[in-house]
Amino acid sequence: MATVEIRGVKKAYGTTAVIHGVDVSIRDGEFVVLVGPSGCGKSTLLRMIAGLENITGGAILINERVVNDVPPKERDIAMVFQNYALYPHMTVGANMGFSLKLRSAPKSEIDSRVQRAAGILGLSHLLDRYPRQLSGGQRQRVAMGRAIVRDPQVFLFDEPLSNLDAKLRVQMRTEIKELHQRLKTTTVYVTHDQIEAMTMADKIVVMHDGVVEQIGAPLDLYDRPANQFVAGFIGSPAMNFIKGAVGSDGHAFACDGGASLPLEGMVGARPGQRAVYGLRPEHIRIVEGGAPAQVVVVEPTGSEILAVARLGGEGGQEISCLFRERLSLAPGEIIHIAPQKGMSHLFDEASGARLVD
């Protein structure tokens, strides 16, 4: 049980800076997900918390104690690696009990703690197997078992599900969440998959090019992305970005290539200003008198229909629309669309910062 405080942390390899001052504060028992595209510095940040990478600037505090110069083994943290990093020459039981063995814990204690962790994860019948004899999901569970046997202050997960197939990933996602609810250990979880972040996190830290773009609860990030990057990264299918300018009356947005979309509650946007209008595919409705759009491609998936359309007709900007209703749409058809009330976003064209409230 511990808090983790990241204060102005920087990382550079030689002269190449990869993390430019990151501040994150993690409460005791919180499940925090660091998410971002590859190369954004999220794994490096995690490895700095673990002590596997030096900290170039700033400080990391675990339980209010600066750990910059504390060696990894004294930080009392456990990490689950992307490739699981199971010791191939040890049985599942020995893998899970290794840290206790190094601490010279009595054999009876090692056995009982390994048994308990194995019971939680459903590994009791596999304790005598070697990692090679296990499936991907089982290996993943052993890696988690190795972490929970130690009862550490903080769990670190480094993209633990990316080597699993899609179905197993969904299942393990639930298992990790359940485990966290049961153990209530502070957890930092790194992933590039925004769905994992959305479904598991108490708090999401979105990173991009070594800086934090936004920190917040999953739905906050979805509803009120702080900038165009977060808006595009969170949510699937991704948000539509429509280029254009704020209308002269300030209540409409004139899209490049035709069509006009309604603007509401805008703050800090001048009439006539160039901007990017953000609209999630699932927030588009077909309404009488809406902006005209010509359907280009229709992809029905059963539960919903994904349609790509050109705003304002031929030559307009392409947008994706997601409809829950079974509409019979055909390519070439003209539909009239409008954003769901309160669900549109506006970003500055140059900086990408959010403009509407």
């Binding site: 673990a50 083994k73 690696f81 010791y87």
Partner: protein, 312 residues
């Protein structure tokens, strides 16, 4: 397949027949390799074993004498001295090569500046032809001009030249040192290759599990490296046991046969001594030792359970 054969049966030539029979064709492809093996491996080995049962001399056909050569060797103190020397040489040099080679491999596996340069330098003793390096060692160990004696005298540590190759104990140590120098690169580079197959994340996981540097070596590096150690050391033992060039250039088995190995004794008796039968018998006497080394490595150090693949 059957239909095709039936359909084209009328036009089938003898050549097509060979093509159809997979076994015939397979044997045909095997033939060049088989001829090569029989001519250059099986025949000389068989001839050697046969000569060991005869009293052949150079220039004179021998007759079958049964185990007479072996009976003579059994009571030959020089032969037994050579056996002892060979075992001492092999065990001593192999242990040193393993320890120093592993140490060197661990060093080279660190993040060093000029890493590839050092790796290339380490390989040098291995690339230099044995005879050339043996001649260099001959000078290094020379009774009058030895650079080691010279350096130690200049440093004031000793007051007269060391008799490297003239004293029985010194000679044994000297040839072992030369062999170790030559053999380390093979061990070091092979083990380095093995070290590099150990994923860094295992060391990181062990570090987070609380392992010290020594514990990581003891519980992660060494067990993960053991399959490669087994292969490398088997080869190293075989090379050392059958070593010939180094001894022949440095000491020719002297002084007082103190550095005679089975291989050099076999050569000396067979070629300069002319007793082909006896020489062959000594060479054949090496086979049990070599076989037991191979069997030890095969059964004792073969693939561990954890290396074997899936299969629930």
């Amino acid at each position: 397949m059957a239909d095709v054969t039936a359909g084209s049966a009328g036009r089938r030539s003898w050549w097509a027949g060979i093509g159809q029979g997979r076994h015939v064709l397979g044997l045909l492809f095997l033939l060049p390799a088989a001829v090569f093996l029989v001519l250059f491996l099986t025949y000389p080995l068989g001839l050697g074993v046969w000569l060991g049962f005869t009293d052949t001399r150079i220039g004179r056909e021998g007759v079958f004498v049964g185990l007479e050569n072996y009976e003579l060797l059994w009571i030959d103190s020089v032969f037994w001295l050579a056996v002892f020397n060979t075992l001492l040489y092999t065990v001593g040099a192999s242990i040193l090569k393993f320890a120093l080679g592993l140490w060197l491999a661990l060093l080279l596996n660190q993040h060093l500046p000029f890493k590839s340069f050092f790796r290339a330098v380490v390989l040098l003793p291995w690339v230099v032809p044995t005879v050339l390096s043996a001649i260099a060692f001959w000078w290094i160990f020379d009774a009058q001009f030895s650079i080691i004696s010279w350096a130690l005298i200049k440093l004031g540590l000793i007051d007269h030249n060391i008799n490297f190759l003239g004293d029985t104990t010194n000679a044994r140590l000297s040839v072992i040192a030369a062999n170790v120098w030559r053999g380390i690169p093979f061990v070091a580079i092979s083990l380095l290759a093995g070290l590099q197959t150990i994923p860094a994340s295992l060391h990181e996981a062990a570090t987070l599990d609380g392992a010290t540097g020594w514990q990581r070596f003891r519980y992660i590096t060494l067990p993960m490296l053991s399959p490669i150690i087994a292969v490398v050391m088997t080869f190293s033992v075989l090379f050392t046991f059958t070593d010939f060039q180094l001894i022949y250039v440095l000491t020719r088995g002297g002084p007082l046969n103190a550095t005679h190995l089975m291989a050099t004794l076999s050569f000396q008796r067979a070629i300069p001594g002319g007793q082909l039968g006896e020489g062959a018998a000594i060479a054949v006497a090496m086979i049990p030792f070599l076989l037991s080394a191979i069997l030890f490595s095969y059964f004792g150090l073969q693939r561990r359970k954890w290396q074997q693949g899936g299969g629930d």
